[in-house]
Symmetry: C2
Subunit: 369 residues, 2 copies
């Protein structure tokens, strides 16, 4: 299968901007005329420091980040941060609110419970995670050290399109799968963290954005290299960072700026997801049971009216170069992830395939019925 004839709908690691891959390819043996590959650069040298500083500056500009927010590039992914958050933000007898909106918030809750007292302020379980829990019934703990949300549920296809009011309790968001997909009112947040392997690029890197006044000395058991305080005090140079991942993230930040920044991304992401949801809603062959107001623009989860055809759908799509459309194993069904780097042409190609597939199998269904 040739890369140029492929659309990759994977939930992450997933599609990256072709321009970024081409640039990374072009300078893989000789990065910025240093004579070295990015893979070979000492992290304390001027060459890499320039790259890391530029990446940080570009990210700050994209997000219009106020100076009292720090940016950390840490190894690992969001799952590691599920543990590091309570260790870095709370005392051992601390309390935190968590809102359960699906697969990934449940994971965050399970891990946080190993460290602190967790109040599940609201849960979408009673609605089968087909919508976000109604704000009116959230039971927030006024003593909580923070309130944790999963801004986009990658597996369940839900997203916050309006931020909750947590009444002065710092809002902490796992933004792994919608980070940089739209402008952010950063000052509404205490901490934002995001595994990079969706809209930022490479797996093995997590971005943590933290408001200065929330920095604590981490728990004694927190590995020094993973302490927010230690890394910020050492200018994120406490130890060798994931160098190539930071370089690639920097290329993506540049690309985002060249595309018009987060407003342009948001507009494009809205068009892409609305095209697909509209097609699904108008079809009697496909269905999406997520409440319209809470639907994710990153991960469109849907299913077939004839679920037994799911595997065939995925396989036929794959043969046409439409890759990785299976749903998350814990949720089932189908899922098309439409990250920043997915083009509108990709969504058009998917809809065209869905039409053909429905026409063929819809007829078969009617004949059988």
């Amino acid at each position: 299968m040739h890369a140029s004839s492929v659309y990759n709908f994977a939930a992450g690691p997933g599609v990256m901007p072709r321009e970024v891959l081409l640039e990374a390819q072009r300078e893989l043996l000789d990065c910025r005329r240093s004579g070295m590959s990015i893979l070979e650069m000492p992290f304390t040298g001027a060459e890499f420091q320039n790259i890391a500083d530029q990446a940080r500056r570009d990210l700050r500009e994209l997000l219009e980040l106020p100076p009292h927010y720090h940016v950390l590039f840490l190894p690992g992914g969001a799952s590691t941060q599920f543990s590091l958050l309570p260790m870095n933000l709370l005392p051992p007898d601390g309390r935190a609110d968590y809102v359960d909106t699906g697969h990934w918030s449940r994971k965050a809750i399970a891990e946080a419970r190993r460290y602190v007292s967790v109040n599940v302020a609201a849960s979408g379980a009673q609605h089968g995670y087909s919508r976000l829990p109604c704000r009116r019934y959230w039971q927030l703990d006024p003593q909580a050290g923070y309130c944790h949300i999963t801004s986009n549920e990658t597996a369940d296809g839900l997203a916050y399109h309006r931020l909750p009011d947590t009444r002065g309790v710092p809002l902490v968001a796992d933004m792994t799968s919608d980070f940089l997909s739209r402008p952010l009112d950063v000052e509404r947040f205490g901490v934002i963290y995001a595994g990079a392997q969706k809209n930022v690029g490479p797996a093995g890197l997590t971005l943590v954005i933290i408001r200065d006044d929330l920095l604590q000395t981490a728990w004694p058991a927190c590995p020094a290299a993973l302490s927010y305080r230690v890394q910020i005090d050492s200018d994120n140079r406490f130890n060798t960072p994931p160098i190539q991942a930071i370089y690639l993230a920097g290329l993506v930040f540049r690309w985002l700026r060249s595309q018009g920044g987060l407003k342009a991304m948001a507009a494009r992401n809205r068009r892409k997801s609305e095209a697909l949801y509209s097609y699904i809603d108008a079809s009697d062959f496909y269905a999406c049971d997520r409440q319209v107001a809470d639907r994710s623009r990153m991960n469109v989860c849907f299913h077939l009216a004839v679920p037994t055809l799911t595997a065939e759908f995925v396989e036929q799509a794959r043969c046409q170069g439409l890759l990785n459309l299976q749903g998350h194993p814990a949720v089932g069904g189908l899922r098309a992830s439409l990250y920043n780097a997915m083009s509108e042409a990709g969504v058009d190609a998917l809809i065209a395939f869905m039409e053909t597939f429905a026409a063929r199998h819809g007829r078969a269904r009617r004949r059988c019925g």
Copy 2:
């Protein structure tokens, strides 16, 4: 500066095999005809699993790893493992021996002390870290859960060329800077860990090799994603791993096999380091004060008889394409790292430059003297 005219002597991240970089470049947009970049591959998909499985198999063959040793690919570097080792191997009231041979063992000791009771069984401090501490005087704790050594001190230029007898206490080695540089008698070790950014390749990946009977349930405060037990029980798929780093490590393992494996590497590494040490020892312009029997074959630390010329040496070398020859900031002086991917031609070029530099400045010195 053009990559083909450069020799990179950085201590890590450092030089990588050119063949590996070329292959990574060639398939950066389309990995193994999947139509996807390695950066875009879902980690649960067959494509990446094949890549990870092959990497693991090749590593096992290179090391002739017995079946009762597990291999883990974890995010982060050795500094993170300084904390994770005691949390994964010992109870909270545990005791461990550490041997202090220089900069990196001191770092490991400082971090381990935050978790368990550390007995420094021996220290090279009294000899200014110019040699390994004499075996005869090691004060081992028979109750220690493990004995930790740093098999190669990257900053100080020392290495174990004969393993210590720890009298039944499991030997744990930080092998970051000499892993895969020579054959290993793995059964002498309980745990081997190594940040990848020396002989394996990319920063942001650590390899942990652990004997089955040493696996414990990690401390309650250990992040689940960094628990050896949790990762082994989930076949190293608990969460998204650093995918591209694993892919690149796999390319390096293949390259090592094509080069004749670890025996061939050891022979070449011996030739390279002996050529450089011999030149230094015969010179009255350069000096290495490390005891001959304990000298590292990876990191050749030396200095100038006229230390004020050090910065000029580094800069003139750089202009000739001989990069990153400054010593570790904590140690000073000069350092040439001769990892597997450094060719013998690179060492020859360095020695030729050193001759020229000495001829010019040696004369100047004599004139001034």
